[in-house]
Each structure stands twice: as structure tokens, then as C-alpha cells.
Symmetry: C2
Subunit: 189 residues, 2 copies
């Protein structure tokens, strides 16, 4: 193992995203990412298993974070409230500082069908995990599925807006507004 390198993970992420955008995801190699970040390839592999993990490694973290919060919500909290509360915390704790990364990541993913598929699979996994966490809290099969689907739909839609706006608001605020809009949209069903 090499020595600890302060900020290496962030430098590697930044270097990877820059190269993915400049040269394309497919053509970028781990060697190039490491060189741009000023670290060895060995250091890269201490943080990521491959270049795809630079884009998707955070998915696990997000899923674990949200599931933990949903599981910890008081019993009196309705399924959709538990989800909304967890998403709000994620917006603040995980995403607030990461808008530049999230934006560049979105640019890379939009340009590559394989990465888009991967993103869909991650969201499907997140939906299933949240539904399971709600069921564990005693929600009905159907109620849990619908609350999880709704929450992930809100996250997806709010996120798209957040990363695409030039002068983007707070993600947390966008999520709250998107939940309100979902309520209005569904109310007339």
C-alpha cells in the first residue's frame, strides 16, 4: 500500500470526469486518470475498482444512507414522509457540495447508452431497497412499492432539474417542490 494521499479521491474524480468529457468515456484509461490526478495507478485502485466506479460508486452510499434513514423513521411517520425526509437529508448531506460533480457526471452518462442502462439499474435497485425498508417498518406490499416508486421518481425528476439548470436552486428545495407537484398531478387521478 502506498502512503495516504490527502484529497486523492477528489482529485481522481475530478480528473476522471474531465477526461470523460474531453476524450469520451470509452477512450479514457485508468492510467490517464491517475496521471492527470498526479497519483499512481495503484492509488487509483485503492479508491475505485475501475473507471465505471468513479461514476457509480456513490450509488451504494446513497442507497445505504436512504435505507438507514427510512428504517430509523418513527413508526408514526407515513411511508412517503419517511422517503421524503430521507431524500431531503441526502440532498443536504450528500449532494449539496457535489453539484459540479453531479453535472459533469450527468453529461458523461447522457452520452453513453451503456451508462444510461447502468443508471436505470441503479435506480431500480434503489427502488427495491426502499420498498423493502418500508415493508420492514410494516407498510403494506402495495403501499411500500408505490411510496418507493414515487420517491425515486421525485428524486430522478428533481435531480434532472438540479443538474440542468444554469443557476440551480438548492436540490432540497427542488425535491420539496417536486413532491408538491406530484401530489397535485396525482390528486386528479
Amino acid at each position: 500500500m502506498g502512503r495516504w494521499e490527502p484529497g486523492a479521491r477528489e482529485r481522481l474524480e475530478r480528473a476522471a470526469l474531465e477526461l470523460f468529457i474531453e476524450d469520451g468515456y470509452e477512450r479514457t484509461t485508468v492510467a490517464e486518470i491517475a496521471a492527470r490526478a498526479g497519483v499512481t495507478e495503484r492509488t487509483f485502485f485503492r479508491y475505485f475498482t475501475d473507471k465505471r466506479e468513479v461514476l457509480f460508486g456513490g450509488g451504494h452510499e446513497l442507497e445505504d444512507f436512504l435505507v438507514r434513514l427510512v428504517a430509523a423513521a418513527p413508526a408514526s411517520v407515513a411511508p412517503i414522509e419517511a422517503i421524503a425526509g430521507a431524500l431531503d437529508m441526502a440532498a443536504i448531506e450528500i449532494f449539496a457540495e457535489r453539484q459540479a460533480f453531479a453535472r459533469q457526471r450527468q453529461t458523461v452518462i447522457s452520452s453513453n447508452p451503456d451508462l444510461q442502462e447502468r443508471e436505470l439499474l441503479k435506480l431500480a435497485s434503489l427502488t427495491a431497497a426502499l420498498a423493502a425498508a418500508l415493508r420492514d417498518r410494516g407498510a403494506s406490499e402495495l403501499g411500500a412499492s408505490l411510496a418507493a416508486e414515487s420517491g425515486v421518481a421525485v428524486l430522478k425528476t428533481a435531480f434532472t432539474q438540479w443538474v440542468s439548470e444554469d443557476n440551480a436552486k438548492d436540490l432540497s428545495e427542488i425535491i420539496v417542490k417536486t413532491f408538491a407537484e406530484l401530489k397535485a398531478v396525482v390528486a386528479v387521478a
Copy 2:
């Protein structure tokens, strides 16, 4: 071209699903499907481009059907109502007669991760197509996305229930109940 064979498509579908369940999707060949259905391989290829299309060919039909109905809904109809109306028609016109097929299809897809991914991609494509149809009718970007996401979430959830119940109700009825449940779930957000 061979002669027209009455019921060949249905026989091929039935034979394919039987073989997928008996021997596994991966191991089943087009030759076996054709033999079981009592037709030539050439006849198989008149109906399907490959064995996967037996499972997913209907996806295009469903997407076209739903988009056409959403586009044709009167201007006074809200986005979610247009979606709900279209799903109800699909339940009656497309799915009502096809429960046995839908069930076997679900069994096959559940047993194969690649087919599950394919199914997710089809649903994502359906969501995008419905959102586009709603935008064309004048719905807002956000309203269209959320109505489409909600509609597909209802379809997915209702469908899962419909194919998994031993003594399944009408899909149309399950869809109506699922929309009502979604409304109740989201109302407390």
C-alpha cells in the same frame, strides 16, 4: 415465403414460453421452438426476429397503443387522467386475453437478470414516450414527467399483482385500485 399458417404466432408463443420454463431461456433454441409449435424455423422468423422478441415484441405494440390514446385524449383531460384512461384501455384491449402468457413471461423474466434489465429498459422507454406525448398536448415539463412516471409505476405494480395472484382479478380493476392507493400514499407527502 411459406403459406399462411392459422394461429402460428400463438402456437409459437406458447411453445417458446413452455420451453423457456422447462429448459431455461438460455438453452432454448429457435429450432426447438419451431419444432414444438409444429412449424418450420422459417415460419418462426416470419413472426419474430429472435427468441427474445417472443418476450419483448409486444412492448412496441403497448407503447404505440398508449401513446396514441394519450395523444387523442381531449384537451380538457388532465395528464394523469389521460394516462389512466390509456392504461385502462390497454388492460382491456391488450392484456385481458393474455393472462396465461403474461404469467409465464413473468416467470421467465424473473429467472434471468439480462431479461430483467431488458424489461427495465422497455419501461424506461415507455415512460419517456408517455412524457413526450403529454408534453405535446401542452403539459409542463415537470407535470408530464411526473404523470408518466406515476402511470408506469402503477402499471408495473398492478401488473406484478395481476400475474402473481392465483385467482387474479381483472387487470383493469387492479389498475383503478392502484391509482387510488397511489393517490392516498402521495396525499400525505
